[in-house]
Structures are given as structure tokens and as C-alpha cells.
Symmetry: C2
């Protein structure tokens, strides 16, 4: 997320799928398009419910399958901040961390310019996640 609120054309979205050999099916484009302009790190169910009205034939299994292949191809990132629901993030975004509110479950982006992928002989790091947990401003006020 963070500063990539650009609207992508269908052609641009299709071009993201191309290198992986994934066909630009309407379902894939819909999921990708939704993620590309979402700011809420949606769960599978949120994505499904958002797209279903305009894609009446869409199946939940398709959303799962689509997200799995998008993740496998590095087009989309799976957050590991919320253990009870998978949440997704558009991969073409600046490196950032996430804050998870233990009260309302909201996930907030945190800019972290200085974070770098560590190099290590012990393993090949492909992804770095930095997660904060606690209370967001609203919930902290309410407590």
C-alpha cells in the first residue's frame, strides 16, 4: 500500500500477469484490480464480498485459487499479521511495515524507509515482514 493509489488500466493489470504465464481472466483482473486500489489489506472474504455483486458467478474457491497463484508469482503479498484471517497486499508498493490493532483488527501501514533485506549466508531471504501489534489511536482512547 502506501503511495501507490494509482489507478491501473486493464492493460497494465494484464501486463502484471503476463510474465508468470497467468491468463488475464476477468476473475484474476478483478481481484488484482481490487487489491491494487484497496487500502485495507482485505481478507479473502472481504475481497469476495466486494467483487461478488459485479461478478455474480464468482466463487470463493476462485478467489482463494487466484490469490494463491498471485502470491506464488510475487504479484501479491500475503501478510502474516493476522493469524485468524489471511490478508493481502499489492506487491508493487514501497517497503513498509504493518500495525495490527488487537482491539478492532485494523491493519495500518507504517512507512519504514530504512528497512533493508538482511543478507545472510544461512538463508535466502525473499521477503521481509515487520509487524507491530497493539492498540490503534481510536482504541487506545476508548480503553
Amino acid at each position: 500500500m502506501i503511495e501507490h493509489m494509482k489507478k491501473y488500466t486493464v492493460q497494465e493489470l494484464a501486463a502484471m500477469l503476463e510474465p508468470s504465464g497467468l491468463r488475464p481472466s476477468p476473475q484474476r483482473l478483478a481481484v488484482l484490480s481490487y487489491l491494487s486500489h484497496s487500502t485495507t489489506h482485505p481478507t479473502v472474504d472481504e475481497i469476495y464480498r466486494a467483487l461478488q455483486p459485479d461478478n455474480p458467478s464468482l466463487s470463493r474457491a476462485t478467489v482463494y485459487n487466484t490469490l494463491n497463484s498471485l502470491v506464488a508469482n510475487g504479484i501479491v503479498r500475503e501478510l502474516d499479521i493476522d493469524t485468524s484471517n489471511r490478508r493481502y497486499d499489492f506487491a508493487a508498493s514501497a517497503p513498509h511495515a504493518h500495525f495490527f490493532c488487537r482491539n478492532c483488527g485494523r491493519v495500518i501501514d507504517v512507512d519504514m524507509k530504512n528497512i533493508e533485506l538482511p543478507r545472510s549466508a544461512d538463508f535466502v531471504v525473499e521477503q521481509l515482514n515487520v509487524n507491530f501489534k497493539g492498540l490503534c489511536a481510536e482504541c487506545a482512547k476508548a480503553e
Copy 2:
């Protein structure tokens, strides 16, 4: 994990429960003891299967309940590195990050002396997780 491979006595383990008012039941002590000398960030199922032979009456629900109350009282930490299984960590350990191998699923500790909880007016940070994902040395060799 990391450098706390000390063996705890039953009395020491019981003392950890005391401040929270949790009774030192055999089940709780067994879970806590297991976590205290485990290096693998076990899942619920791994904990259950490890303890079951010596605790034939042990129920999976008890392991879940026990872990939930240990986490709620800050005695044990829940990792959020593996979205398909909850993994646990003994809380009395130095701050560290985790590396998750996408091939074998292994979770490896990474020492990170310099990481600090960020302060922010926007939210109250209670926990910080830094997670790396990729391939561990063995799996990288095999690929």
C-alpha cells in the same frame, strides 16, 4: 528462543504462572516446560503430540486453552510468521526475529540486537515482530 536453553524446575515454571493467578496444573506445566526447552517454535499439534504419550488424558482443547491463557498473560508469545499454523515461543527470551523457510516450513531464530519498539503518537505498540521468509540453507542447496 535463542540462548535460554536453561532447564527450568517445576517450581520455577509454577512461579511463572503464579503472578497471573493460573494454577500450576500438570497440563499447564507440561506445556510450559515443553515450550521452555523447545527450539522449533512448535505448532499446537506438535505440542499435543509431544505431550500426549506421557499425558494420555490430555485433550487438544486443553492445549489450545492453555496456550491462549499463557499468551494472554504474556508468558508465551504467539508467532505470526506461519499463516497456516499457530506457532509459539517462550516469552522469556531476548528480542529476535524469525526466518520462515517456504519450502520445509522450518522457523529459524534470527538475532537482532538493534531492533527497538518504535514510538508513535498514532498507536500504542505492544509487540514487534520481524519476519523473514525465503529458503533455508538446506532447501536453497536442494533447489
